[in-house]
């Protein structure tokens, strides 16, 4: 049971890049130029660093209000409903909800929120409640991908546009919902591989601490990592892949076994920060020194970034949970009658030894 | 007028279980409109017969003819569909569904769209139940009804399913007197409607009130059948118990020596006015030191319940127990044991022995705290106690470490006796101490009871074995329907007196008759 509350939090971890200036967002388009997003190390003054999107691929589909069949409205006078999937019991969820609230406040939009406490049936009734309470627009962080028909029908009947964040629902874009905003987990894996190659010099044996089995975040972060290794550093061998269930204790236990049986391991790629921190605890317990084994993780929590500062972790690929600006920007553009992409992929940032100390304030 | 049609005929029915011939060549005939009493003591074969009739078991031999056709039911459902309904003591309905749903389960009225017609169902259910003296909101869940009302619903359901034969297994055991009256009127109505009723009960009053014919089973055989009116109560009891009145008694069949010299002192146990709802109605008895008091009565008369109530194992609604002049407080088993009351339960295997533990652990079980210091067991003291009693009671086991579950019944019984004797009790309550144990062990246990009484213990003896009861007891208190109906003392402690008292035969003189029908 605890499993289920734990898993979704990671399932839903979107890649979100902090740092795009608010100015850029309000400029109107939610798609930003690529160069703008690719190397993004601008320190953010704002506590809630905004995210920005990767430019849509040529030919990727977009959606307009006419195609969707809703009516134009003024976002500042509208009521937005936000349905969160899990209780705010981990950094990601806390930051995600806070970001939505902050952005609504900033824009002066009336926001209704609900939290499904990891119960899908509750989320369905939550959304129906939001509709009944007069939400004109919906932002949903879905707990499941399936089972949304009743809600979609109810929303369609009221012509309420829906934007889903961090996890997709199985339905037709621009018909059942407008857009889906999330990270590219494969890309996160690739960038983690880049960091690993840099840290290890592209040679030696590395291990992967997998996320929970049967989870798309796990499979995609693994796929990206392996592809990039194969392509750029064929001398780097993945010799160990075991699940740490996205949990620190499990990461610690698996790493203890790993360093016993493969003392020569050079790097560990942990598919989330918690397992990476577990690996750090295991290395400390075994009397290793910081930097003996290179660790690269994905998430961008404060603890992990601190780990870089302390020298135990080599790199962290961030998944920014601050969806507020991008979600509201998408809704704003859409309700004005302009086209928005159906899939908004967020550009992820990264922390390494060179920027960790300076940007730790950005970590969530 | 033509004789009523034969509804059900059973010929030569037999059924064996490993080691037991539960039913042996039994015949039974039921006619339309007949209320037939089926009686017998424990193990006589009543429930086996019922289970064969209702498809729970398959007969080894014999045939069942139902409404002129040979039948063989594979499941109770088949029997029920064919028209044989059974009302068990425990109501076999669905407690969470509404009364009406239960009544119409499987044959709910539907409207023309094929949808459940709730309004009609509730209306009809109310009408039906009113005929059974049950006036309730039929939309309530069944479990909110009293047991009696639930039983009526079960009965109404059984009748409504076009039953031709209705079997009632101790239907009144949990009913109030008023409900019993309603039940009787329903039975009479069934009878008038041409339905055959098989009525199983140990309450003689009830049998004579509603039944016209009777079949008596004993040890798996039919020992009597015919009109109930032709069989007076005394004859009925003696037939059931298998003791012919004229039979010359052989003395000394048991190992009991007979009378004990009770010290004539104050009673070591005094139980007054014990009342347990539906089971005991103000039972009082007392035992003096060195006295063996027998508790007589038929199955279901409240003997076991009396012993359990005294020993605190059965919560009483009212009444009090005094041990050697000190009132027992708490009414719990540990309190009674501390006061010196020990109960050898009727169901040795499930309530007596702890089968997975050794002989040693079983003997030491109750006395363990006394052999311990600061919660630590003194193995040496346990060994000495165990050794003493294994020798004294001649318990045969490969070693004290053998599992009790592996011993013979007689040795298990001795282990239980040892467990209690180690506690140095004042009163021993023995519920069927010799049932199911071999002859040799039986004699040993009987002899032991004598010795213990001679040592000054007060003993309460419950036994279905009349010889054992008569010869072993100095006095016999007779129970019927949960109340004391008489007491036999001195020369009156005979089988004949006992049976007369059980039968409620008023000729049994100095017996103080207590009426109670609940």
């Amino acid at each position: 049971m605890q499993r289920t509350t734990h898993r979704p939090r990671l399932l839903t971890r979107p890649g979100v890049v902090a740092l795009a200036a608010a100015v850029v967002l309000t400029a109107g388009a939610c798609a930003k130029s690529e160069d703008d997003a690719s190397k993004d190390t601008k320190p953010s003054a704002a506590a809630g660093a905004e995210q920005k999107a990767v430019a849509p691929k040529p030919g990727s589909k977009s959606c307009t209000i006419d195609a969707y069949g809703a009516e134009k409205l003024d976002l500042t006078k509208a009521t937005v409903g936000f349905s969160q999937s899990e209780k705010e019991a981990n950094p990601f969820r806390i930051a995600e909800t806070q970001s939505i609230k902050d952005e609504a406040k900033k824009r002066g939009v009336k926001l209704l929120t609900a939290n499904a406490q990891s119960q899908f049936s509750k989320q369905i009734s939550d959304v129906q409640d939001l509709l009944a309470k007069g939400a004109d627009l919906l932002v949903i962080a879905p707990l499941n991908s399936d089972g949304w028909d009743p809600v979609l029908q109810a929303a369609a009947a009221k012509k309420v546009p829906i934007v889903t964040i961090d996890r997709k629902i199985n339905a037709t874009a621009c018909k059942d919902y407008v857009s889906f905003i999330a990270s590219d987990f494969v890309e996160q894996g690739k960038r983690a591989a880049d960091q690993m190659i840099e840290a290890t010099g592209g040679k030696g044996e590395v291990a992967i601490l997998l996320g929970a089995a049967g989870n798309n975040v796990t499979t995609e972060r693994t796929k990206g990592f392996k592809e990039r290794i194969a392509e750029k550093a064929p001398d780097l061998k993945v010799v160990f892949e075991q699940t740490g269930d996205f949990a620190r204790e499990k990461g610690q236990q698996v790493t203890e076994q790993l360093i016993q049986s493969k003392p020569g391991i050079k790097g560990i790629y942990a598919e989330n920060d918690e397992m990476g921190l577990g690996a750090v605890a295991a290395l400390k317990g075994a009397g290793k020194k910081a930097g003996d084994v290179k660790i690269v993780t994905v998430d961008g929590t404060r603890n992990a970034v601190q780990g870089i500062v302390d020298g135990w972790i080599s790199g962290v690929i961030e998944s920014n949970p601050r969806f507020g600006p991008l979600a509201f920007q998408t809704l704003d553009t859409f309700t004005k009658g302009e086209a928005v992409p159906q899939d908004v992929i967020i550009q992820d940032s990264a922390y390494a030894a060179d920027n960790a100390k300076a940007e730790i304030g950005k970590a969530y | 007028m033509a004789p009523p049609a034969e509804v059900l005929a059973v010929r030569g029915l037999s059924k064996s279980f490993p080691g037991v011939r539960a039913l042996d060549d039994v015949d039974l005939t039921l006619h339309a409109g007949e209320v037939h009493a089926l009686i017998g003591e424990n193990g006589a074969g009543k429930s086996t017969l019922i289970k064969l009739l209702t498809g729970v078991y398959r007969p080894d031999a014999g045939e069942i003819t139902f409404q002129g056709h040979a039948v063989s039911f594979g499941t109770p459902l088949e029997a029920q569909k064919a028209g044989i309904s059974t009302i068990y003591q425990e109501v076999n309905l669905i407690p969470l569904l509404s009364v009406a749903r239960n009544l119409f389960l499987g044959r709910e009225p539907r409207n023309r769209f094929g949808v459940l017609d709730l309004a009609r169902m509730n209306r009809e259910a109310e009408d039906t139940l009113r005929g059974y003296g049950v006036q309730v909101d039929v939309r309530r869940p069944l479990r909110t009804l009293g047991v009696g009302a639930q039983q009526m619903v079960g009965l109404a359901r059984a009748v409504a399913t076009d039953a031709r034969v209705v079997i009632m297994d101790e239907p009144t055991s949990s009913l109030e007197p008023r409900e019993v009256e309603t039940l009787f009127s329903v039975i009479r109505r069934l009878r008038d409607a041409g339905i055959a009723v098989v009525y199983v009960s140990h309450r003689l009053d009830e049998l004579y009130a509603v039944c016209s014919t009777v079949t008596v089973l004993r040890d798996g055989r039919r020992v009597h059948h015919g009109s109930l009116a032709d069989l007076d109560r005394l004859a009925l009891v003696s037939t059931m118990l298998g003791r012919d009145l004229g039979e010359v008694r052989e003395e000394g069949l048991t190992k009991f020596t007979g009378d004990h010299q009770s010290a004539g002192s104050e009673p070591v146990l005094d139980a007054a006015d014990l009342t347990v709802p539906h089971k005991l109605h103000g039972v009082s008895l007392s035992i003096r030191p060195g006295e063996v008091v027998g508790l007589g009565g038929l199955l279901g008369s409240g003997r076991t319940e009396t012993a359990k109530a005294i020993s605190g194992a059965l919560p009483v609604r009212s009444g009090r127990v005094t041990v050697a002049g000190v009132p027992l407080r708490g009414g719990s088993a540990p309190a009674a044991i501390r006061a010196g009351i020990s109960l050898l339960p009727e169901d040795r295997k499930s309530e007596g022995i702890v089968p997975g533990l050794s002989v040693r652990e079983n003997i030491a079980l109750a006395v363990l705290p006394r052999l311990s210091r600061f919660g630590l067991v003194s193995e040496a003291r346990v060994d000495s106690v165990v050794d003493t009693f294994m020798k004294r009671l001649r318990i045969k086991a490969s070693s004290p470490h053998q599992k009790v579950g592996e011993l013979s019944g007689g040795n298990q019984q001795k282990v239980l006796l040892a467990r209690w004797l180690a506690m140095n009790p004042k009163v021993l309550l023995l519920d069927e101490p010799t049932r199911g144990i071999d002859v040799g062990a039986k004699a040993e246990v009987q002899k032991l009871v004598d010795e213990l009484a001679a040592d000054g213990l007060g003993v309460l003896l419950i036994s279905s074995d009349l010889e054992e009861l008569i010869e072993g007891s100095d006095r016999v208190v007779v129970l019927k329907d949960g109340a004391v109906v008489g007491e036999l003392t001195g020369d009156d402690v005979t089988e004949e007196r006992l049976m007369r008292t059980i039968a409620g035969d008023t000729l049994a003189e100095p017996v103080k008759e207590v009426t109670s029908d609940g």
Binding site: M1, Q2, R3, H6, K87, E88, A89, N90, I94, L210, A213, V239, F240, E241, Q242, T243, D245, F246, A247, R248, E249, K250, Q252, Q253, V254, E256, Q257, Q260, S261, E274, L277, A281, G285, A286, N303 | S311, A333, P334, A336, I337, R338, L343, P345, S350, E351, G352, I353, V354, P355, G356, L357, A364, L365, A366, L368, S372, G375, V377, K403, R419
Partner: protein, 320 residues
């Protein structure tokens, strides 16, 4: 044909089963040790054994309590939740120092154990249902007290988690002492004997005047206390309190260790040495598969096979 096999097979089969029941778990541990020494590089090292022992220590401690509960023919599903609760409470009260924090943890655990015991012994709720309630509720309370993982920087706690005496980590010492203590209680005290009698035949124990309710309440309380010890130790080792995932599925690991160790689920028998060996067996099995980098699903399948084998071996015991 059936006749013939029945005549000859039972003797041998019974004997084999009997042997498996008593020694199967030790044989399993021995086999895994030998196999690993042969095929696993760097297996035969003090460091490795230390790792395995440290990892298995919390499981053993929880399984000890579970064995007692199962001995009464019950089960306690709330142990994982109690571990999480212990982690939360440790984090909350560590500011007052380690000892005060441990005392508060014990209070919380005792409260959960008492609630379990009261539901089972006084209200008469089935153990699986009663402890299921606390399994859900306990984890909920843990998350209310501490909604997310918190790093703990307390030197005393850190040394509890990673310190040692003469090279033997505290975790291993504590687990050993607790195992000996529980074994002693089962074998040598009135409480232990009464527990077994209650588990074997509750009606008989009741009629024999045993303090059935008291024993049951104590057993569930002890089980919760042991689980909280495991929770504190796991937290100390991690140097972080993680109520969101600590103790997840621990109830299943503990039940597995107990059953594999030869304690029947039908109650009336408690095998402490077997329980410890059962936990070690599962630990070695997991370690073997991880060290050889076999897919995690294999670990689950292997565990399932061990459980089925253990239950099969225990089958004969039911028909005593």
């Amino acid at each position: 044909m059936a006749e013939a096999t029945l005549r000859t097979a039972p003797l041998d089969k019974t004997r084999v089963l009997q042997w498996l029941q008593t020694y199967g778990v030790y044989a399993g541990v021995a086999v895994l040790l030998v196999v690993n020494i042969v095929i696993t590089p760097h297996f035969l090292s003090a460091e490795n054994f230390r790792t395995q022992a440290v990892q298995v220590a919390p499981v053993i401690i929880v399984a000890l309590g579970m064995a007692l509960v199962i001995g009464t023919e019950g089960v306690d599903l709330s142990v994982g939740a109690v571990m999480a609760l212990a982690a939360s409470v440790t984090a909350l009260y560590l500011g007052y120092g380690l000892l005060p924090a441990l005392l508060v943890v014990a209070l919380f655990a005792a409260a959960v154990g008492l609630a379990n015991g009261a539901l089972v012994a006084l209200v008469g709720v089935q153990p699986i249902v009663a402890t299921l309630a606390l399994m859900v509720g306990g984890r909920g309370i843990a998350l209310v007290l501490l909604p997310q993982l918190e790093d703990l920087r307390n030197p005393a706690l850190a040394s509890l988690g990673s310190g040692d005496i003469l090279g033997i980590p505290y975790l291993i010492l504590i687990a050993t002492v607790l195992a000996l203590l529980v074994a002693f209680v089962v074998r040598r005290t009135t409480f232990g004997r009464q527990l077994l009698a209650i588990g074997d035949s509750r009606p008989a124990a009741q009629l024999a005047g045993l303090p059935v309710r008291r024993v049951l309440i104590i057993v569930y309380t002890v089980c919760a206390l042991l689980a909280s010890v495991a929770g504190v130790l796991a937290t100390a080792r991690l140097q972080a309190s993680d109520p969101t995932s600590l103790g997840n599925l621990m109830e299943l690991s503990a039940i597995t260790a107990v059953v594999v160790g030869g304690t029947p689920l039908t109650g009336g028998r408690v095998n402490i040495a077997g329980t410890v060996a059962g936990a070690v067996l599962i630990q070695l099995l997991t370690a073997t598969l991880i060290k050889h980098d076999l897919p995690p699903s294999w670990t689950q399948i292997a565990q399932a096979i061990v459980i089925v084998a253990a239950v099969y071996a225990a089958r004969g015991r039911g028909k005593r």
